[in-house]
Symmetry: C2
Subunit: 332 residues, 2 copies
């Protein structure tokens, strides 16, 4: 691969002058500049980031840790972050930890050796010890969709507790009293908090879930199973802690011959694209996924730039989106 020397030779000048052309610094005559640019164009030369970083430049690299991007929520989140970061001049390592601590540790080691400027962690892993080395090196960490218990410089998190409350309250307001909850994955902080919110809102009305099924794997199939179990308790309404869980429930209910929403109301959380495109259309609490991603990117950028202004701009509010899966319970 061509180096700055190659270009210098081609343009019959020194590496210093080539560097000046590359960076638009110092004095370069129009003549020389033209020759250098010609050489660059001719060889498709691109200066090595490695050399630049080594010399003391910023790496413009950031690490993004999340459980896996084949899940809609994280796919959208990752996409939003990557785009925002790219526009800010960064390149991202999007890493799927598969919720394995060993995996996560390997990625962190990689971040260190690649000298990333910062890290965004949206992983669902509960433990955060792997982040200690990053912290020790003063590498800023922004947590998204979860806290990091002291390791993160900042956290972009919606109020999951409130989210849980909103779901429960909507059902309560419709008149439901026999309510079940399902969701996954168990170890996800967000899930736990939403669940806590659900319980709190129910308790406030003197209720508690007639069934609570929290699974380890977060996909349609497991959600279907969880829902089947929960429906055995004959709730009039079911809360899915994620849209995936809620959609799994739609199927379980359908297979049991229950009509939605006449026999069973269902509410989800997230508002992933599929939520509006299942039948019946899913009522859900929408969280601003892309906004979350962009916020995290900008926050990290500010931290990397050393901007002291740490004030958190507010995230858009959670909103209840009423579609076709919730209704008052049918009179007994």
């Amino acid at each position: 691969m061509a180096s700055i020397k190659t270009i210098a030779k081609l343009a019959q000048t020194s590496v210093a002058s080539v560097s000046r052309v590359l960076n638009n610094s110092g004095y370069v005559s129009a003549d020389l500049r033209a020759k250098v640019q010609a050489a660059i164009a001719q060889t498709n030369y691109q200066p090595s980031s490695d050399a630049r970083v080594l010399r003391g430049g910023k790496s413009n690299l950031v690490g993004i840790l999340l459980p896996s991007i084949d899940v809609q929520f994280f796919g959208i989140l990752a996409h939003a972050m990557e785009q925002a970061l790219f526009d800010l001049g960064y390149q991202s390592f999007i890493c799927s930890t598969a919720e394995s601590a060993a995996h996560e540790a390997r990625y962190v080691a990689m971040f260190l050796s690649r000298r990333v400027g910062g890290v965004i962690a949206a992983s669902a892993e509960a433990g955060a010890a792997h982040f200690a080395p990053l912290r020790a090196h003063g590498i800023p960490i922004v947590a998204v969709d979860r806290d990091l218990h002291g390791y993160a410089s900042d956290a972009i998190v919606i109020d999951h507790d409130l989210g849980g409350r909103m779901m429960a309250q909507h059902l309560i307001d419709l008149g439901h009293r026999t309510i079940a909850v399902i969701g996954a994955p168990q170890h996800s902080q967000s899930i736990q908090r939403r669940l806590a919110g659900v319980r709190a809102a129910l308790a406030q009305s003197g209720l508690q879930p007639v069934s609570e099924q929290v699974g380890t794997t977060h996909d349609f199939a497991q959600s279907y199973d969880l829902a089947s179990r929960a429906l055995a308790n004959r709730p009039t309404a079911l809360i899915g802690l994620t849209d995936i869980a809620a959609i799994g429930t739609i199927h379980a209910a359908h297979d049991l011959g229950l009509r939605i929403p006449q026999d069973l109301s269902i509410i989800g959380f997230d508002d992933i694209p599929s939520a509006a495109f299942v039948l019946p259309r899913l009522t859900t609490v929408a969280q601003p996924i892309r906004h979350l991603g962009r916020s995290a990117a900008h926050r990290l950028h500010r931290l990397i730039a050393g901007d002291p202004q740490t004030q958190t701009e507010a995230l858009p509010a959670l909103t209840l989106i009423q579609r076709d899966t919730t209704a008052p319970p049918k009179p007994a």
Copy 2:
């Protein structure tokens, strides 16, 4: 950040010895090795990849170009590729081109300056000129889900034409004769080929689509619109060139009061997770998405390693998955 010199000083030795410990090369006494390792542990030291690459090592970086990972299909594909590559010792830049040529060119320049060892391109962009510089530098390129017209060293592509045929044939076999087709995005090679396959199969039975709606944006909402238009022609069956298109169609049909599959049969393509979890469950032609990703990763690895063995192992066959959205047309 600590460097090899820091470690050498801490362990009271030379950088050469530290390097020997790091790489398990040459001679190092047990004593010294222990001291060095202690210093490394103490500082959380990780050798700089930049320096290693600069010195002449491999970068172990690969670029992955795709339209966007917030689309299920590409999210899953990207996930499979990233995991496989990570296991092979590579780190991936997953880049969403948003199907913009300018974007793509910027990413390619970045790949060059980062000295990636190879590139996997799954972008839907039709033009491939941006890849010329990569090619010029001898950087291997593997195309996934599309050809790259001479720029790629290899292409991992299923037989989209066959896929199109399978969809059409299934409907023909059921007795349908009035068949519409919708899909997006228009400029995607895969879409074009599937469409060609559909037309070919129909033609073989003396038929042609009663409506053909190909849109630019690939999401549920636009698919809904395309379907609404296509259904105006009163087909008894509709082919969605992707599952997204098919699912959009389910909704459009539903809103028109059509029963599925009694009044309208629908078939999709891809078998994304949502396909099995819509109501009614979508009949579709499944392509081995994750397998595609893993294959591409391994192929690229072999190319980077300079393995001459270029034989392509076969991909799993496309399979028709019959669920609940297709049935014989009702007698007229």
